[in-house]
């Protein structure tokens, strides 16, 4: 999905060290090479992770989520939740103002959230995140009450996301459709300019004094400015960080990680994203994959270890569960339980009556055993290559894999549902993310990717949304994860580590719980 990457940071080790070594000095500019271009800097309209990386510097959120999944104050100093879990009352900071001088207050918060609901905004992912938001009431200038349609344990965590950042009502009204090109928030950096397809420049917000607990420097940032350069071509991006033309470059491909590690001028920052790992979903509505044995056969035939090692050269971690390890409720006991077992795979298929034909492909009732594997284009994180390997691996047990690489995921996957196996991942801060993938869907609604429909699982997932007791909630999600793996509903593949190569004379770049970079502590080391 286009949601991109990020996760409760599994303590980004390298960044912490780098920050510790040098003496933070004020001043200087850095440039940060992005792999793709943001679509807009309007947080409510954007759906691209790359945009978040830029506008996280411009906007603040009400609360912040720490790596241990706890929620801490940011623009809100404190909050209370009503007993029915359907309304939240926030006390806001009084010393905050937007970069355009507009005062930050309850009105601004209400405006921001209502704006997301307004169809005219054409909000994309933000509206999904804000669910089940119903309305806001301004209690007083610095107190706001938010009402929900239904209780949601994940709501606070979502509020911490940049896509639900608070925008300047003055600017948003003034620029309308063009707000995305003229963003104004309360963040540590303010927008300077955006040259299409080339660069976005932000400069220090000199008034900034309300940094969250996630960073050490609570005041204004050390850096004068950051220029985000848009460099889609991998070789060029890496080439320019190696030659020193840019200070930092994101998404370093695995094969270069090894080489860059040995580069005396560069440091590598890596943070695993959190949410759902890259997962291959079986489409259970299509035969023969509605049969658990068939799915298990495939599960045994695919050597995920080999895939991850071959393609990512040991730089990516393998996924074992429908959730990433850093997320709440992750079940570590699932690790190393599935082993590639060709005999088992063959046996299972044999049992199902699929017999190998002369061409090595299994047949039953004159039908070939085919698996339609759909993947999005382009070859992001080598996902197309995974398809290529799986095609070869399944060939060995007599499954003919047809790989379809398409840009048009919408119609192939969501409208026509013409796939047997489809891969996706999602950035999220809470296991409720599982709901949209494994809960039975309403009769008229679009089915989930897995097409799973099991009342027991539905019940567990529903409990998970409202269960306030952490231990019980953990247990619920353990059961869900075990079920999903045991029934081979999916094949989890890898956990994406967001990797940035940074010049050694820059320190203090950190990452938030979703893996987005924070520049509050970043500074250039004086030599």
């Amino acid at each position: 999905g286009a949601g991109g990457t990020g996760s409760p940071a599994a303590s980004p080790a390298s960044s912490a060290q780098a920050a510790g070594n040098g003496q933070a000095t004020s001043g200087g500019e850095i440039s940060f090479a992005l792999a793709t271009s943001p679509d807009t800097l309007d947080p409510h309209r954007s759906g691209l992770a790359v945009a978040v990386r830029v506008f996280r510097t411009i906007y603040d959120s009400l609360v912040v989520q720490l790596p241990d999944n706890t929620i801490k104050p940011w623009l809100a100093t404190e909050w209370s939740i009503s007993p029915d879990g359907k309304s939240y009352t926030f006390k806001l900071r009084k010393d905050v103002k937007f970069q355009d001088g507009t005062p930050f207050n309850a009105e601004a918060v209400k405006y921001s959230y209502d704006r997301i609901l307004d169809p005219a905004t054409k909000a994309a992912n933000a509206s999904a995140l804000l669910k089940p938001y119903k309305s806001s009431e301004v209690i007083d200038e610095y107190t706001i009450k938010i009402n929900l349609e239904s209780p949601s344990v994940a709501f606070l965590g979502n509020l911490s996301q940049a896509m639900l950042g608070i925008v300047s009502p003055t600017a948003a009204k003034k620029y309308g459709d063009q707000f995305g090109k003229n963003p104004v928030g309360t963040g540590p950096f303010k927008f300077v300019k955006w040259d299409d397809n080339s660069e976005i420049k932000v400069e220090r917000n000199p008034d900034y004094n309300w940094a969250p607990a996630l960073v050490e420097n609570k005041g204004k940032a050390y850096l004068d400015a950051i220029t985000f350069k848009i460099i889609p071509e991998e070789a060029t991006r890496l080439g320019s960080v190696q030659s020193g033309q840019v200070t930092a470059a994101e998404t370093v491909p695995p094969q270069n990680i090894v080489a860059l590690k040995n580069d005396a001028k560069l440091q590598l920052l890596q943070v695993n994203t959190s949410g759902l790992p890259y997962t291959l979903f079986f489409n259970q509505s299509r035969a023969p994959w509605n049969d658990v044995k068939a799915r298990q056969a495939v599960q045994s035939a695919i050597d995920v270890d080999s895939i991850v090692k071959t393609l990512y050269l040991g730089t990516y971690q393998r996924a074992w569960s429908p959730l990433t390890p850093t997320i709440f409720g992750y079940d570590a006991s699932l690790e190393n339980k599935i082993k590639p077992d060709l005999d088992k795979a063959n046996r299972l298929f044999d049992e199902l009556g699929w017999v190998k034909g002369t061409d090595g492909v299994r047949e039953k009732d004159g039908k070939k055993l085919t698996l339609h594997y759909v993947d999005g284009s382009p070859n992001r994180e080598k996902r197309n290559d995974i398809a290529a390997i799986i095609q070869q691996q399944l060939k060995k047990v007599g499954v003919a894999v047809e790989v379809e690489i398409t840009k048009d995921v919408q119609s192939v996957i969501y409208t026509a549902q013409a796939y047997d196996l489809y891969g996706n991942s999602q950035v999220n801060s809470d296991p409720v993310a599982l709901n949209s993938f494994y809960h039975t869907t309403a009769p008229n609604a679009r089915p989930s990717l897995s097409h799973l429909s099991d009342p027991a699982i539905d019940k567990l997932l529903e409990q998970g949304v409202v269960e306030a007791d952490e231990a019980k909630r953990k247990e619920i999600y353990k059961n869900v994860q075990k079920y999903i793996i045991d029934n081979a509903v999916i094949i989890p593949v890898y956990i994406f580590p967001y990797t940035v190569a940074v010049s050694k004379n820059v320190s203090g770049i950190k990452f938030d719980s979703l893996g987005y970079p924070l520049f509050n502590d970043a500074s250039i080391l004086k030599k």
């Binding site: 286009a2 299409d196 060029t236």
Partner: protein
Amino acid sequence: MVNAIIVRFISSLGVIVGSSVLVFCVLYVLPGDVVMNIIDPSTMSPEAIANLRHQLGVDRPFLEQFTTYFSHVLVGDFGKSLVNSEPVLPKIMMHFPATLALTAAASLVSVTVGLVLGVLSAIHRNKPIDIIARIVGLFGISMPTFWSGILLILIFSVSLGWLPALGSNGWQTLVLPAVTLGMLGAGFIVRMVRNAMLEVLGEAFITTLRAKGLLERSVMYRHALRNALIPAVTMLGILLGEMLAGTVVIETVFSRQGIGRIIADAIMAKDLPVVQGVILFSAMIYILVNLLVDISYAYIDPRVRRFQN
């Protein structure tokens, strides 16, 4: 004369309208729609998606989209990007200078390299210089530009550190992309100039010139080359088209700003108004340049000028 140009220009407008209709039709059948590029389909409900599509107007029937778009174009409104609501024309105008600089620099490279190699090649026909010049020219035509571009970056930027790999400002940033793109054109020009030169060298008047006792130098450069250049000028118009198209790849490789980049992205995103805008714009440029080429042709070549009187 001025009238003729105006008439010619007006008829070109027809061509421009035609080409944009064509492109509109081709793009309309693109699968999927722009919505997919703005949202994460797994997190949004179908209704929300439908809603968004409705707001963007991409769910309306073809004819309606078509007439709306063109009625706006007629009054000079190229519409707004579906992805980020940016007005198209200002966006193009902003990016065009970068593309222009690139194509101009690349043309310079093409013409210089092409001319030198082409002339050397023709003068030293079938000698080693000829062979080398032709092979160099052919390499320009034969290498995929994205590959040669990356190689140049690795060599001159990463290994040697002589030139920046990217950017849109300063002449240094122009060198590598212009060379990459220019080598393509140089290949064509070498071949063109060589053939034209050989043809001219076979003409009877060359013998006259020699019989007059002219220096070989002035036979070659003052006379033969000048004659050979006339057909080469017509090539420039076509070359420009190639170069403009080449920027799609080059601007991506070198992360340059420019309309090539815009259109590549827009095609992928099915951002119809942007694609339309860029195509309309580049068609206009193309036609304008070819018009200029035709006019200058009539001025350079006395054989054409004769028909005027």
